[in-house]
């Protein structure tokens, strides 16, 4: 489906909702719940149980959908709410920030040595820890860019930042990840 057709369908859904058609909201939840849950899960550091936050996102969407004018995609709008909800949740919980601990023996790695390319669960957990330990702004752009696969324009729209700012944050995130996961990312002779 083209972007134009998608936007017009989303506008139609919002208009139907304004007219009081409940099924429009049902369809919005059906279409976007999984994506919103995946984003929330990644932004919150993979806690798995994201029921509450997804409910809160759609609750806010329900209350604000009447004001949705289609200036951006519905998905972008929902993602913006998700990012904001995740920020407030983290603030509320005031969880201690996990600092990624450098692995004393980086056994499994992406080295050229064939079989060793198979990384085990511990290595994946280490990668997730490194992402979780990123500062909020860097983590957000990393998740949106690399894991959600969003385009620069959409990320900027979503976070309300310029392309330059996004690039700076992304570079910082990469530098931090290189620090933490260098052995997994570089070729070995």
């Amino acid at each position: 489906m083209s972007a134009m057709a998608r936007t017009s369908e989303e506008l139609d859904l919002a208009a139907q909702f304004r007219r009081g058609d409940d099924s429009a909201f049902d369809r919005i939840v059906e279409q976007h719940a999984a994506e919103v849950a995946a984003l929330a899960n990644r932004l919150l550091g993979w806690p798995t149980d994201v029921d509450d936050i997804v409910q809160e996102v759609f609750l806010s969407a329900f209350l604000g959908l009447r004001r949705f004018r289609g200036e951006c995609r519905l998905r972008t709008w929902l993602f913006t709410i998700t990012v904001n909800k995740c920020r407030s949740l983290r603030l509320r919980r005031r969880r201690p920030v996990f600092r990624a601990i450098a692995d004393p023996e980086p056994a499994a790695c992406l080295g050229v040595g064939g079989d060793r390319a198979l990384m085990d669960e511990e290595t994946f957990a280490r990668v997730r820890r490194a992402v979780r330990a990123l500062p909020r702004k860097c983590r957000e752009v990393t998740v949106l860019r690399y894991l959600q696969g969003l385009e620069t324009k959409e990320i900027c729209e979503l976070l309300g930042i310029t392309a330059n700012t996004m690039q700076v944050r992304l570079n910082r995130a990469r530098a931090r990840l290189r620090e933490q996961l260098g052995d997994l990312l570089e070729d070995r002779p």
């Binding site: 719940a33 409910q55 050229v112």
Partner: protein, 204 residues
């Protein structure tokens, strides 16, 4: 640092994490929650107002009761008592409503907890699917390395074909097909270049 490699690493770490559980998210449930919030928002101030009114009425009655009551006021007292009774009934009804709403809320929470518990029991089919997905991904990843870093085109092609053969309906099979067509295209381009070079006129 290779950007693509970082992306692959992050994707694999994300894939290896448990998928998010969203059993309690549905449009109906969200609407129900909104209704409940609105009811509580209306009922609580109403109940508070009713309690205040009853208290004020009782105080007024007491104040009026202290001095010797004139004979002309029994009707007014009766009407005030009636009003107090009505307010009390109203307060009781509102409080009952609030309690019912809270009770329903607790039941909903219990139900959601039970549903979440039920959902946390791993689905063997899904686990198997994840395992298949992971294996297909690993094969693709290794084939990519064979082709891009070690220049072992034949082995890479064999690995891509293996993915297509083993997991024809998996999304990674589509990736393998795409890679194969890219390799094929490159080989055609190379052979075209060679052919053109051979056909060049020899100017002496």
């Amino acid at each position: 640092m290779n950007d693509e490699r970082l992306q692959i690493l992050l994707h694999r770490a994300d894939d290896a994490a448990d998928a998010p559980v969203i059993t309690g998210v549905s449009a109906a449930r969200i609407r129900q929650r909104i209704r409940r919030t609105r009811t509580i928002r209306v009922a609580v101030p109403l109940a508070a107002a009713a309690v205040m009114t009853v208290a004020a009425a009782i105080l007024t009655l007491r104040k009026q009761g202290q001095p010797p009551l004139p004979q002309a006021q029994p009707e007014r007292i009766a009407s005030l008592e009636e009003q107090v009774k009505q307010l009390k009934t109203q307060t009781d009804a509102t409080l009952k409503l609030v309690q019912e709403v809270l009770q329903r809320d607790r039941q909903q929470q219990r139900l959601a907890a039970l549903e979440a518990e039920l959902a946390s029991i791993p689905d063997p089919v899904r686990q198997m699917q994840q395992q298949v997905d992971k294996t297909a991904f690993l094969l693709i990843y290794q084939a990519d390395r064979l082709y891009k870093e070690l220049n072992q085109t034949e082995s890479a092609v064999a690995a891509y074909k293996e993915v297509i053969q083993l997991f024809p309906t998996n999304r990674w099979a589509d990736v393998a097909r795409e890679r194969l067509s890219q390799i094929e295209q490159r080989q055609i381009n190379k052979s075209d270049d060679k052919g053109e070079a051979k056909c060049e006129p020899r100017n002496v």
